[in-house]
């Protein structure tokens, strides 16, 4: 691929990358080309009318353009680029890639535009003052589950005079885990015949039996936020908890294999994702089996993350 050779596009480079001059490319912008035209007209005018000072003006402004060219290239070179954090997202949401630009030189860098290479005009501008660093987040919509590697980033600058545009490419070593998009209008949580150790009762909405005053030791998930929000503190507002009755809970065992095999695999995964979230919301411990991966009955962020991760990567290569 010509682009790859010409612009020395590299695969993801781990860690911090320094933009050496060899990685910076430069071409005149449209105003820059117009400026060349202006210089030609000025030169012809000076020759024709024999204006000694006209030559001086033409050559000095021309030299300023050349200095601008060097300065524009130097505005980009020797910057350090490093990937930042990337939080998992659900398919359909925007994946957020955090990028860090560090300037260890004594020159402040202004007007640096960043964007993904395949998106055309860069959208975000950032200034990196001398000896400081800047962070910015580039986002991109997601469609399917799995790992989403950050696309190639294009840095672009026209500073200082706008007559030249310098750019450089960088493939950050950064990827985002995309969970399956939870199915909208998913069926209610499945109850299984398998009883919990306590033996009786099933899980259902009916078991919610109102709210009561918060007591130390109540799990956070049982706080009735909606009600708390309605009560003004001046009216003796206090924390209230949801009260669940019965206390007999059938174990929630989610298994990909238990879903109708006729359904598309993506829909099945989406449904499982929706159920995982629903179970988390209701603070119902759940177990998940996806293929040969099994997660024991549990609750909490880590468990939820592990489950969703397994769903995201099901059938994709191992992470």
């Amino acid at each position: 691929m010509a682009d790859r050779w010409l612009f020395q596009l590299k695969d993801a480079e781990p860690g911090e990358v320094q933009l050496v001059m060899r990685r910076v490319f430069i071409l005149p912008t449209r105003p820059g080309l117009a400026f060349v035209g202006l210089l030609l007209v000025m030169l012809v005018g000076s020759v024709n009318y024999n204006l000694g000072l006209g030559f001086v003006l033409t050559f000095f402004t021309g030299s300023c353009a050349i200095v601008d060219m060097v300065m524009t290239a130097r505005n980009l070179s020797m910057l350090h680029l490093a990937p930042g954090r990337a939080q998992p997202v659900f398919a359909g949401d925007e994946a957020q890639f955090e990028l860090h630009i560090r300037n260890s030189t004594p020159r402040s860098r202004y007007g640096i535009w960043l964007g993904f290479k395949d998106e055309g005009e860069p959208r975000q501008a950032v200034d990196v003052l001398a000896g400081s660093s800047a962070a910015l987040v580039l986002s991109r919509p997601t469609r399917e589950r799995g790992w989403l590697a950050a696309p190639r980033v294009r840095l672009f600058t026209r500073f200082p005079l706008g007559l030249f545009g310098a750019w450089s490419y960088w493939q950050p070593d950064l990827r985002v885990l995309v969970y399956p998009q939870p199915e909208i209008g998913a069926p209610p949580l499945p109850t299984t015949g398998a009883a919990s150790e306590d033996g009786i009762g099933t899980v259902g909405l009916d078991n919610f039996s109102g709210i009561r005053n918060y007591q130390p030791g109540d799990p956070m998930r049982h706080l009735a936020w909606r009600q708390i929000a309605r009560l003004h503190p001046d009216d003796g507002g206090q924390l209230v908890s949801k009260n669940f009755e019965g206390g007999a809970v059938a174990d929630l065992l989610l298994d990909l294999a238990n879903l109708p095999p006729l359904l598309d695999i993506e829909i099945r995964l989406a449904r499982l994702a929706a159920w995982v979230l629903e179970a988390e919301r209701r603070a119902l411990p759940y177990a998940l089996t996806v293929g040969h991966r099994h997660f024991e009955l549990s609750l909490g962020e880590t468990h939820c993350g592990n489950c969703l991760r397994a769903l995201a990567l099901y059938g994709k290569e191992a992470p």
Binding site: G15, N48, L51, L53, V56, T61
Partner: protein, 665 residues
């Protein structure tokens, strides 16, 4: 105050005001030659734009702007009767820039405004190319660059002073390159196409007719006519006669020239009839741009003029350009102290210089008759000295003579006796012709002021002079006779300015006179200024292809000098040293850590880019090495971690780190 104002303004407004200021700087010098209404329009529109910016109101809509600009265009047409040509073009450009400022919507418009400004800056050089203009140009360039720069910031905008410094930095970094381009960029001799008629509306300089008053007009002008440099020695002041148009036709009021350019064959013949002797003075003249085509050559030299423009020579020893060059011209020539001009001219040919208008000046003709008798008795020279003696007795040299009537010669010779070089020269020639001696008026310049700073003679319009030439028989040919010298010999020995009676010692005139005294500090300053101006003209304004070629070949010769060849490696070394200095020495802690990592790699522990000292420490503990080495290694890593990520140990940590590094080996 400015800072407070700037703080009150939003960024956009301050940026626009800066652009307006830059545009104003470009437009200001044009007010001197724009029609008054155009200057007024520009001012009003700029004020309007400033008010719009300050009040934050909207730009005028196109339906308002379009008719106004069309009206202005119509005004230009009415004023100049054309839209083409230089002057209307400049007026149009100035108005265009102004209206473009009122119609700025996109980033593109901004570039249009700045580029227009650069071009308008160039057009100002049609009118003025002095050193001051150049300084003004530099300031304006920096302002324009600052304005252009300002619009490139996307987030943080440094204060105005910092932006101006940035623009100035660009300009000064660019300056050496600009100078190199100026010297080395291949030059073409213009013009590339026919210039419009108004391209050289410069000074008129010396005229080819002489009516009463024409010389005294010039005499009041301190403008430089030309500058001369003699290659070796210079002739004395009283021999500096710069020959210009020769006037042989008199109609009773005005002298005019009749000379015609010689064909090649005629020029050869003339050369045979011209005997030059003595050691020649060779010199180079830099003639200021004038619209007329006369060259001024030191008397007396042949038709060999060396110039890049085509020149011709007339049968009256005038030198002229084939077409007026309209720019500063250099030419070189050589003159001889002794000469005999056309001694063998035939009497038929000489008739041309004997003609007098009929019916004028009866008293003068009467005197001329007496001269004719004198001439017959005692020879030509007696007649000449008789007239010069007459002038010496009771004639006064003044720049403000009384106006003369119809019989101008009679009134001058017998009534007023007040006159200037033109009066003396024309009366003398008139008398000689009346006495039967062929004679003609020669105009040109006399004298010149030597500038001790650069060795150039400056000849000013005030040095304009007229003298006579008389054909004194086959033994002598044409002889120069300067009747003014009889009346005011100091006029010839020094220059005109010093001949004139002292003006009031106070006020501005007194100040100006101070400068004439060569020894006063003001006089020295004047010479330095003049030398600077001359250098400016020679090197900046008149650096043409020929000069470039000459300079570059001289430069090439100089470069071949061994001393320069020795300097170049020194320069290269200095630049290398500078580069080395700028490569910062690595941090000793980092260097020690890098050395440690290399050592670990030898033991098979490669540090991954993300690995820190803690995880390395864990891997080090699993190495199969003597325990004291492991201890040194972990100690090293712990200290490194403390230096890098902890509060930082105080007791010379770097030395301890280095000693630990040694122990690990």
């Amino acid at each position: 105050m400015m800072a407070r104002l700037a703080a009150r303004l939003t960024r956009d407004k301050a940026d626009t005001l800066l652009l307006l200021l830059a545009a104003l700087m470009v437009l200001l010098p044009h007010f001197r030659h724009l029609p008054w209404w155009a200057s007024l329009t520009v001012c009003l529109a700029l004020a309007w734009r400033g008010a719009i910016t300050l009040r934050g109101s909207r730009l005028p809509p196109i339906w308002l702007l379009l008719p106004v600009s069309l009206l202005a265009m119509g005004g230009v047409y009415l004023d100049f009767r054309t839209l083409l040509g230089r002057e209307p073009g400049v007026a149009m450009l100035a108005l265009l820039l102004t209206f473009k400022l009122l119609e700025m919507h996109a980033r593109r418009d901004l570039f249009v405004v700045i580029f227009l400004s650069f071009f308008l800056l160039l057009t100002n050089f049609f009118y003025s190319q002095t050193i001051l203009t150049a300084l003004n140009m530099s300031v304006t360039i920096v302002l324009l660059l600052a304005a252009q720069l300002t619009f490139q910031f996307t987030g943080v905008v440094p204060p105005l002073a910092a932006r101006l410094r940035y623009a100035a930095r660009i300009f000064f970094i660019a300056a050496p390159l600009g100078i190199l381009l100026f010297i080395g960029f291949p030059r073409i001799q213009g013009p590339l196409w026919g210039l419009p008629g108004d391209a050289n509306s410069g000074r008129s300089g010396m005229s080819d007719t002489m009516a009463p008053g024409s010389m005294s007009n010039l005499a009041l002008s301190e403008e430089v006519a030309f500058r001369v440099r003699f290659n070796e020695n210079a002739p004395p002041q009283q021999l500096l006669y710069w020959r210009g148009p020769v006037l042989s036709e008199y109609d009773g009021r005005t002298w005019s020239r009749v000379g015609r350019p010689l064909e090649f064959r005629e020029a050869l013949q003339l050369r045979k009839n011209m005997h030059l002797s003595g050691s020649p003075w060779s010199y180079e003249v830099t003639l200021e741009p004038v619209t007329r085509q006369y060259l001024f050559t030191l008397e007396m030299g042949g038709p060999d003029i060396n110039s890049e423009f085509r020149t011709g020579y007339t049968d009256e020893m005038e030198s002229l350009f084939r077409s007026p060059p309209g720019q500063r011209v250099r030419y070189s020539h050589a003159a001889y102290p002794a000469y005999r001009l056309q001694p063998s001219a035939s009497p038929g040919l000489l008739q041309r210089w004997l003609k007098l208008p009929a019916g004028f000046n009866p008293r003068t003709l009467e005197y001329a008759e007496r001269l004719r008798t004198l001439r017959a008795e005692k020879g030509d020279l007696a007649a000449v000295t008789d007239v010069l003696d007459l002038f010496r007795r009771g004639f006064t040299y003044t720049l403000e003579p009384t106006r003369l009537g119809r019989d101008a010669m009679d009134e001058f010779l017998f009534d007023t006796r007040l006159g200037f070089c033109e009066h003396y020269a024309s009366a003398f020639v008139y008398l000689m012709r009346g006495a039967g001696l062929p004679a003609r008026v020669v105009t040109g310049y006399q004298g010149g002021e030597l500038n001790p700073v650069d060795g150039y003679f400056t000849v000013r319009q005030s040095d304009a002079h007229a003298w006579a030439e008389v054909w004194m028989g086959p033994a002598h040919g044409w002889k120069r006779i300067d009747p003014t010298a009889a009346v005011a010999p100091e006029r010839i020995r020094t220059s005109l300015g010093q001949t004139l009676p002292e003006a009031a010692p106070f006020g501005l005139q007194g100040l100006a006179d101070l400068g004439r005294d060569q020894d006063s500090w003001l006089g020295k300053l004047r010479f330095s200024l003049s030398a600077m101006n001359n250098a400016w003209n020679q090197w900046i304004l008149d650096y043409n292809p020929k000069r470039q070629q000459h300079f570059l070949s001289e430069l090439g010769a100089a470069m071949a000098d061994w001393r320069l060849l020795a300097i170049l490696p020194c320069l290269a070394l200095a630049m290398f040293a500078r580069k080395l200095r700028f490569q910062r020495a690595p941090d000793p802690v980092d260097a020690a850590f890098a050395a440690f990592c290399r050592q670990l790699a030898r033991h098979g522990v490669e540090r991954a880019p993300h690995e820190g000292p803690l995880s390395l420490e864990q891997r080090v503990r699993q190495l199969k090495l003597p325990p004291e080495k492991i201890a040194a290694m972990t100690g090293f890593l712990e200290l490194y971690g403390a230096i890098k990520y902890g509060a930082g140990p105080t007791d010379n940590p770097v030395a301890r780190l280095k000693s630990l590094l040694k122990q690990t080996r």
